[in-house]
C-alpha cells in the first residue's frame, strides 16, 4: 500500500489532507472531531488581537448551486475568530497535547506593526503548535481594517511582515496568499524574499454570489444590504490550480513549498494540486458541505490511485505535472486531432451538434437513420476544439484522436508532420525566430 505520510516544511502529518483555516477549525470541539475523522492536520482559524472581533448576526454564507442543489461555490463574510485570544490558545495547547501526531498550524492576522506580530508569536509558540500561517488572504471585512488581503495585495508588506515573523519565531512560517491580485507570482516572490518557509493558496475570491430579485439585496443579506464575501469551493479550483502552477514553475520561486487550497473536494482534486507542485492540500468547503467524513474517501482514493500508478509515496508524484505547464507559444501546432464519436455509446441527444453548429465550426453532421439520429464528425471542418467532448453527457462517447504523422488533415490539406513546430517559428508571427 502506498505511503501517504506527509512532511510539509518539517511539519509531519499522517496524510496530506489538512483542514484550512476557516469555520471548521474555529475551536477545540471541531478540531477534535476532525482528527477523530482522520484529518492529517488543521490550520486553526485565524487568531487576532483582543478585543476579539465580532461577526454579523445574520447569514454569513452565500452559495452557487449546480444540479440538484449540489454546492459548487460558497461565499462567506465571516471574519477571523470571534473568541478571546487566550481561549483559543488554551484550546490549541490542549488539542496539540492530545494529538501529537497531527499537524496543528495556527493562522494569524494582526495589524502591520512589528510588536503586534512578535507578541502574538510568542504566545502561539507556547502552545506547542507546529507552525503558523500568515493570513494575508481574506478579502472581506478585515481588509477594510488594513489586514488580510489588504496586506496580500502589496508585495512589500508581505515581505516585511514575513521577515518580522521569521525573526521572531522558530516555527515554520507559511504565507497564505490572496488570489485577488493580477499576478500571483509577485506576492509569492515577496514571501520568499521575506524568508517564508512556504506559501499556501488560494484564499477566497472576492465575490457576490447572487442578488435577491425581490429585495434587490446581494446575498447573504444583512438587513437588506450585502457585502462582498470570499468565494471558495469546487468553482474556484481551476483558478487555484493555475496560481499554484504559476508559482511552481516561476524560476524565482521554484522549490518554494506550496500548500494547495481551493475547491479540493475529492482525492483526485488533491492529487491534481500536488501534481502541480503542492506539497499538501487544505480543504474547507467539502467539509462544510458534507462533514468531516469526506477525508476517508480522500485517503482511500489517493492510496488506491497511487498503488495503481506505482507511486510509492507523495514525493513520487508531487510536481510531476509542473514541467508540462508551459506558455501558449510553446504548444505544438503539429499536434492535430479530430473528434471521434462512439456510435454505440451515443444516446442521440444532439448537444454536440447544437454546440458545434451554433457556436463553433459546423463540424458535426446530423442525419436521420433507422428512426434515430446519427451524429458524425466532418473532419474537413473539425478544428479539434474539444467542445463536443465537453458538452456530451456520456463519458468517453466523444474522444479526440490524433492524426498520425504523414496523414493529410482534411481541413487544411496539409500533411501532418511529426516535428514540433510552434508559434515562435510560425510564418504568421511577426516576431518569429528562424527555425532551428
Amino acid at each position: 500500500m502506498a505511503e501517504i505520510r506527509s512532511d510539509f516544511v518539517g511539519i509531519k502529518s499522517p496524510n496530506p489532507f489538512w483542514l484550512a483555516s476557516a469555520p471548521p477549525t474555529d475551536k477545540e470541539y471541531n478540531v477534535r472531531r476532525a482528527y477523530q475523522a482522520g484529518w492529517g492536520g488543521v490550520v486553526w482559524k485565524t487568531l487576532g488581537l483582543d478585543p476579539h472581533i465580532v461577526n454579523v448576526n445574520g447569514p454569513r454564507y452565500g452559495v452557487v448551486y449546480g444540479a440538484d442543489r449540489r454546492v459548487l461555490g460558497l461565499n462567506n463574510i465571516e471574519l477571523i475568530t470571534d473568541r478571546p485570544l487566550q481561549v483559543n490558545l488554551d484550546e490549541i495547547k490542549a488539542v496539540k497535547r492530545d494529538w501529537p501526531d497531527r499537524a496543528l498550524v495556527v493562522s494569524l492576522m494582526v495589524p502591520c506593526e512589528e510588536h503586534c506580530w512578535t507578541e502574538i508569536l510568542a504566545k502561539v509558540e507556547d502552545t506547542g503548535a507546529d507552525g503558523i500561517e500568515l493570513n494575508f488572504g481574506c478579502p472581506h471585512g478585515m481588509s477594510e481594517r488594513g489586514m488580510g488581503s489588504a496586506v496580500g495585495q502589496v508585495p512589500d508588506y508581505i515581505e516585511m511582515v514575513t521577515r518580522w515573523c521569521k525573526a521572531a519565531t522558530r516555527m515554520p512560517v507559511i504565507v497564505k496568499l490572496t488570489p485577488n491580485i493580477t499576478d500571483i507570482r509577485y506576492p509569492a516572490r515577496a514571501a520568499k524574499k521575506g524568508g517564508a518557509d512556504a506559501v499556501s493558496l488560494i484564499n477566497t475570491v472576492s465575490s457576490i454570489t447572487s442578488v435577491n430579485l425581490d429585495t434587490f439585496s446581494p446575498e447573504p443579506s444583512i438587513d437588506g444590504k450585502g457585502s462582498h464575501g470570499g468565494y471558495c469551493g469546487p468553482a474556484v479550483k481551476p483558478i487555484a490550480l493555475n496560481m499554484v502552477a504559476d508559482i511552481a514553475r516561476d524560476p524565482e520561486t521554484a522549490g518554494l513549498p506550496i500548500s494547495g487550497i481551493g475547491g479540493v473536494t475529492t482525492w483526485r482534486d488533491a492529487a491534481e494540486f500536488m501534481a502541480l507542485g503542492a506539497g499538501n492540500v487544505q480543504v474547507c468547503t467539502a467539509a462544510m458541505t458534507y462533514g468531516f467524513k469526506v477525508v476517508q474517501e480522500m485517503i482511500s482514493g489517493l492510496k488506491l490511485w497511487m498503488d495503481d500508478k506505482g507511486h510509492a509515496d507523495l514525493a513520487a508524484f508531487t510536481g510531476r505535472a509542473v514541467p508540462n505547464v508551459t506558455d501558449w507559444q510553446y504548444l505544438n501546432l503539429n499536434y492535430v486531432t479530430k473528434a471521434r464519436i462512439d456510435q454505440s455509446a451515443c444516446i442521440q441527444c444532439g448537444r454536440c451538434f447544437a454546440a458545434c453548429e451554433d457556436t463553433s465550426h459546423q463540424a458535426i453532421a446530423m442525419r436521420v437513420e433507422g428512426g434515430g439520429r446519427v451524429f458524425e464528425v466532418i473532419d474537413a471542418e473539425c478544428v479539434a476544439c474539444n467542445l463536443c467532448v465537453n458538452v456530451c453527457p456520456v463519458e468517453n462517447c466523444i474522444t479526440m484522436e490524433r492524426l498520425p504523422a504523414g496523414t493529410v488533415d482534411p481541413r487544411t490539406g496539409r500533411v501532418v508532420s511529426d516535428r514540433h513546430e510552434d508559434w515562435r517559428t510560425h510564418p504568421n508571427n511577426p516576431g518569429r525566430v528562424a527555425a532551428e
Binding site: I347, Q348, E357
Partner: protein, 445 residues
C-alpha cells in the same frame, strides 16, 4: 366490514368510503417543487429533441423543462399551452411511456426517462392555479364556426379558432362537454373534477359557446350547419360500440365498458356504484384496462381481462397492462368468447383459446369458463356514419387530409372520428388545433 365485499352478483358498497377514496386517488400524485427541480435537472436539453418529435402536439419539451428548472413553471406552462391547450389533461392521460418518455435519450442512457408527463403537470397546474387564462383573443373576425363534439379535438379546435378572433359554437350530444376526458377515462387519472375545471378554464378565452345536449343527426344536420356557419369542424368521436358476436351477449349483466366508465365518472358517490363480484372484461385496449382496474378498485373480488390476441398486440401499453396486473387484475391472452352463460342473467363466460395462423386468428378447440356476474364489452368503438352522408370515409372513419379537410368543402374533421393517427387525447388535440389553423387560413385567405 358488513360482508358486502363478497356479496354475490352486482352490488354496491363492496368497499368503505375511506378505501374507495384511497383507491381512486391520483395515480401519479403531483410533483412538489423539490421533486420537480430534481426531475427537471435530468433533462439534457437535447438539440431537435426526440421527445418533441414523439409528441403528437410537438410541445417544446426541453424548453419547458428548462423553464421549470430555472424557477418559472408558468413560463413552462405557456410553452406547453401554445402547442397543446389541453396540456393539463395530456399530462395526466398521455401514454407517455410510448410517446415522449419512450423517446427520451435518458432511456438509451440509463433506461429511465425524464419524467416529462409529471413535469408537464407541474407546469400546467402552476398556471391553472392562478385562475387566469393565458391567451387573449385577436380582434373579432365576424366569422362563425360550428364545432361538433366538445371532446379534446373539438375543444382544441374551438380554442384555436377563438384565439384567432372567430366566434365558435361547440355542440355536444352529452349533457356536459369534455368528451372522453369527462366520460371515458379512468377516474384515477383525472381526479378532483379536472376535466370540467379544464373545460371552464379553456372557455375563459371567450368567443366560445357550448351547447350541450345537441346531437348531430338528431338536433342538427351537417347540411344545416354548413349552411348556417362559415365552417364546420367534426370532432364527435366514435359514438357506437362494436358488437360482440357471441351468444348470450344480451343477457343482463353484460354491457359496454364505455357505459360503465361513464357511469362511474359521473357518480357522485362511488360506494353507491354497483360492481360485480366476478368481472370479466373482453377486449385489449385502454378502455378494457380502465374498466377492469376500476372494477377492482371498487371492490370486485376477481377481475379478468381476456384478449383474443397475444400480449404484444394489445393496444393498451405494456405500462397499462402492468398497472392492471399490479392492481390485481388477471390478464388472459389468446382467447375469444364463445358464449355468455347464465340463467336469466350473466353467470359465466366460455372462452376458446386462439392461435394466429396464415389465415388469421383461429380457435384451437380448447375451451375454458370464467365465472362472471358482470361482463364488459371493450372491443372497440365505431363511427356513427348516418349523419355524415356525402362525406368520403376511409374505412370506418372520415377521410381527412393533413390539414383536417374532409371531402366536403367547408367541413373539417379531427380526433377519433377522423382518419389518421392513434386514438389518443393528444392526437385529437393536435388534429383539432391543426384543423383550426386550416379553417383560419381558409376563412381569412
Amino acid at each position: 366490514m358488513d360482508g358486502a365485499a363478497h356479496r354475490p352478483g352486482i352490488a354496491a358498497g363492496r368497499l368503505g368510503a375511506a378505501e374507495i377514496a384511497e383507491n381512486f386517488g391520483d395515480l401519479h400524485p403531483p410533483l412538489d417543487p423539490h421533486e420537480a427541480a430534481v426531475a427537471a435537472d435530468r433533462c439534457y436539453f437535447c438539440h431537435d429533441a426526440p421527445c418533441i418529435a414523439a409528441c403528437p402536439t410537438g410541445i417544446d419539451i426541453p424548453l419547458f423543462i428548462r423553464q421549470i428548472a430555472t424557477g418559472q413553471p408558468r413560463a413552462a406552462a405557456q410553452t406547453i399551452f401554445e402547442a397543446n391547450i389541453l396540456g393539463g389533461m395530456c399530462a395526466r392521460v398521455c401514454p407517455t411511456e410510448t410517446l415522449c418518455e419512450e423517446a427520451c435519450v435518458r432511456m438509451t442512457a440509463e433506461e429511465r426517462p425524464v419524467e416529462i408527463g409529471r413535469l408537464q403537470r407541474y407546469a400546467t397546474d402552476a398556471q391553472m392555479a392562478t385562475g387566469r387564462h393565458p391567451f387573449t383573443r385577436a380582434a373579432p373576425t365576424g366569422r362563425r364556426v360550428a364545432v361538433v363534439g366538445a371532446g379534446p379535438a373539438g375543444l382544441a379546435c374551438a380554442h384555436r379558432l377563438a384565439m384567432h378572433g372567430h366566434d365558435v359554437v361547440v355542440m355536444d350530444a352529452r349533457p356536459k362537454g369534455g368528451g372522453l376526458n369527462e366520460y371515458g377515462i379512468a377516474a384515477y387519472k383525472t381526479v378532483d373534477g379536472f376535466a370540467q375545471a379544464e373545460l371552464d378554464w379553456l372557455m375563459a378565452i371567450g368567443g366560445i359557446e357550448l351547447r350541450a345536449g345537441v346531437a348531430l343527426g338528431r338536433d342538427v344536420t351537417l347540411d344545416g350547419l354548413a349552411g348556417e356557419y362559415d365552417a364546420v369542424f367534426l370532432g364527435m368521436g366514435l359514438g357506437a360500440v362494436n358488437a360482440l358476436a357471441c351468444e348470450g351477449n344480451d343477457l343482463p349483466g353484460v354491457e359496454d365498458a364505455v357505459d360503465f366508465i361513464a357511469r362511474l365518472r359521473q357518480s357522485g358517490d362511488l360506494t353507491a356504484l354497483p360492481v360485480g363480484r366476478r368481472v370479466v372484461v373482453i377486449g385489449g385496449g385502454m378502455t378494457a384496462v380502465d374498466a377492469a382496474v376500476q372494477s377492482k378498485l371498487l371492490g370486485a373480488e376477481e377481475v379478468t381481462i381476456v384478449y383474443r390476441r397475444g400480449k404484444p398486440a394489445m393496444s393498451a401499453s405494456l405500462y397499462e397492462q402492468d398497472l392492471a396486473a399490479s392492481k390485481g387484475v388477471r390478464l388472459i391472452y389468446n382467447a375469444r368468447p364463445l358464449h355468455v352463460l347464465g340463467n336469466g342473467r350473466a353467470e359465466a363466460v366460455e372462452f376458446e383459446y386462439t392461435a394466429d395462423g396464415p389465415s388469421g386468428l383461429h380457435g384451437t378447440g380448447e375451451t375454458f369458463t370464467l365465472a362472471a356476474d358482470q361482463v364488459f364489452r371493450a372491443i372497440g368503438q365505431t363511427l356513427v356514419t348516418g349523419p355524415l352522408a356525402g362525406l368520403d370515409l376511409d374505412g370506418r372513419k372520415i377521410t381527412v387530409d393533413a390539414a383536417g379537410r374532409t371531402s366536403r368543402r367547408g367541413v373539417w374533421a379531427g380526433g377519433d372520428c377522423a382518419s389518421g393517427g392513434a386514438d389518443l387525447t393528444v392526437t385529437a388535440v393536435a388534429q383539432g388545433r391543426d384543423a383550426a389553423e386550416s379553417i383560419h387560413r381558409a376563412l381569412m385567405g
